[in-house]
């Protein structure tokens, strides 16, 4: 047996290591570069709109007056989508991971993943041509019976092409993302913790509340944030479904607009300062998404001590 001198480097293995770490570093830098490039583009292109005299911006009252109604509209649509989609997605994911027999679970998981594969323009067409018409009687009922709430103030839109319809369509679109991610996390709950709960005499639901949901909590938040990202940025479906207009509190009349749909609808005919205004709107959307993700990270890190990662 020949001793290997400590100082000699083992050629092949060491080279592989270097190539791999170099590739990983390059990939990481590439993401940062792309992100920085996009941000730089948005800022540079947006500067004319941000510095232009108020009267020259669309609406004639300056960029801020132009942007804030559609920021609110974007947030309303996204919040409606998440309020509907999150409980449904968690329910479906729990059913697939912990309640359904295996055959049914696989089939259902496949169907949910299929929902994600439908192009957004199809959702938009479905929302505009079918859902809006079918749902408008419900809006009339809401306006008559719950009209005292500002969000259901009448008269309801006759076409049903409202921000609430857009939110519902968005919720169907974000449902598969949240469902797939949360299902995977639920399945990863350590058997050890599930058995700990069961051995104490927990029912299936109590076991889920004691071990599965706490374990999955950061993952659920991440999944919801990814869904929110899609809901904030979704363009085609909202552009097709929503009959846009000025900001209104009522969710069941036509009106409101989202940033992404505003850009998509106006960009083809825009020129000069108008292009710059739309890009500035895009920059605002970028910043909203960034803020949302940072808040999500903060929420997750707040509970790090109890995450079980230690």
């Amino acid at each position: 047996m020949t001793a290997t001198p400590l100082s000699s480097s083992q050629g092949a293995g060491r080279a592989g290591d270097k190539i791999f770490s170099g590739a990983a570093l390059a990939a990481g830098c590439l993401i940062l570069a792309v992100l920085f490039g996009v941000a730089l583009f948005l800022v540079v292109q947006a500067i004319p709109a941000l510095t232009a005299p108020a009267a020259e911006i669309q609406g004639g009252a300056g960029f801020f007056a132009y942007i804030w109604p559609i920021v609110i509209g974007t947030l309303i649509a996204a919040v409606i989508a998440l309020v509907i989609a999150t409980p449904v997605a968690i329910g479906v994911a729990l059913f697939i991971s912990h309640f359904a027999p295996r055959g049914l679970a696989n089939g259902l998981g496949y169907v949910v993943d299929l929902l994600a594969a439908i192009p957004s323009v199809i959702y938009g067409a479905w929302g505009a041509a079918f859902l809006a018409k079918e749902i408008s009687p419900a809006y009339n009922w809401l306006a008559e019976n719950m009209g005292w709430l500002p969000i259901f103030q009448g008269p309801a839109s006759a076409t049903g092409k409202t921000i609430l319809t857009a939110g519902i369509v968005l919720s169907v679109m974000v449902l598969p993302i949240i469902t797939s991610l949360t299902r995977e996390i639920f399945l990863q709950t350590p058997k050890l913790h599930e058995e700990a709960a069961l051995a104490l005499g927990a029912t299936r639901w109590e076991m889920i509340r004691m071990s599965v949901l706490p374990f999955a909590r950061p993952g659920i938040i991440s999944a919801v944030m990814l869904g929110l990202g899609r809901a904030l940025g979704e363009t085609m479906a909202v552009a097709l479904v929503l009959s846009s207009g000025a900001l209104t509190a009522s969710l069941i009349t036509s009106g409101n607009q989202t940033i992404a749909a505003e850009i998509a609808l106006n960009f083809p005919e825009a020129s000069g300062l108008k292009v710059s205004t739309l890009i500035a709107a895009g920059l605002v959307l970028f910043l909203i998404t960034l803020a949302v993700n940072m808040i999500a990270r903060w929420i997750i890190s707040r509970h790090k001590e109890f995450s079980g990662a230690n």
Partner: protein, 259 residues
């Protein structure tokens, strides 16, 4: 507050595979009974049938009877949830709930089934359970800290505190010391000795010295070969099993000739 267990002609299956064959055993109340045997002989599987944890795995089932003071755990209309609240379990690896504080871990079982408990009662129960698990002095100043921050041995004693907080009739322990260092192991063994004053304790262990130290009676399980079902070979007073076994296989095993 402790009951005896009588098992009659129990066959344990995973799907079609017979894992443990035809076990009949009488486990005395307020005693420590140890299950020993080589890996894969079915002793853990058998232990998990005593509180119906076995059937948590898909396709797992049993035939036969397990009587808790005469009541069949597998009788018609018996809810496994009720069975498990009366027969507690401590696992091989410590598994406190990572998202809960030490205090909440102890109370986890008590708060199940929508039971309400006043803060004073809860405080008293936390203290008595942790004292029962010889852990109170070590954690009394950090009850609100996460249970996962404790050492392995402390975590295992926390799990024992959690199990005794619901005041079970029987406590099952599935190799409770196999992930622990010798000092923590000693602490758990001392605890087992104290627990038998109040509870029926059944412990699975790989460590024959441990079985000899803690148990009143010992059951030796063995398999004839891979793919064959595990069987109860010999059951008797621990002293007899270790010093004067009647079956050759038991003698070979306890004297270290195989396994």
């Amino acid at each position: 507050m402790s009951k005896r267990i009588d098992v009659k002609d129990l066959n344990v299956y995973y799907g079609d595979f017979l894992a443990v064959e035809d076990v009949s055993i009488a486990i005395e109340a307020k005693s420590v009974t140890a299950f020993i045997g080589p890996s894969g002989c079915g002793k853990s599987t058998f232990l998990r049938t005593l509180n119906r944890m076995h059937e948590v795995l898909p396709g797992a089932r049993v035939e036969g009877e397990v009587l808790l003071d005469g009541d069949n755990l597998y009788g018609a209309g018996v809810d496994p949830v009720t069975v498990r609240s009366q027969i507690g379990m401590v696992f091989q690896r410590p598994n406190p709930f990572p998202t809960m504080s030490i205090r909440d871990n102890v109370l986890a079982g008590v708060k199940l089934n929508n039971k309400k408990i006043s803060k004073g009662e809860a405080d008293a129960l936390v203290e008595s359970s942790l004292q029962g698990a010889n852990l109170w002095n070590e954690v009394k100043d950090r009850l609100e800290k996460p249970g996962s921050g404790l050492s392995g041995g402390q975590q295992q004693r926390l799990c024992i505190a959690r199990a005794i907080a619901v005041q079970p009739q029987v406590i099952l322990m599935d190799e409770p010391c196999s992930a622990l260092d010798p000092i923590s192991t000693l602490a758990i063994e001392d605890l087992i000795n104290e627990l038998k004053d109040q509870y029926t304790v059944v412990i699975v262990t790989h460590n024959m010295q441990q079985a000899a130290r803690v148990s009143d009676k010992t059951a030796f399980f063995n398999i004839a070969g891979t793919g064959k079902p595990g069987k109860l070979i010999e059951y008797g007073n621990t002293q007899n099993i270790f010093s004067n076994p009647t079956v050759k296989a038991t003698e070979d095993y306890v004297s270290g000739r195989f396994g």
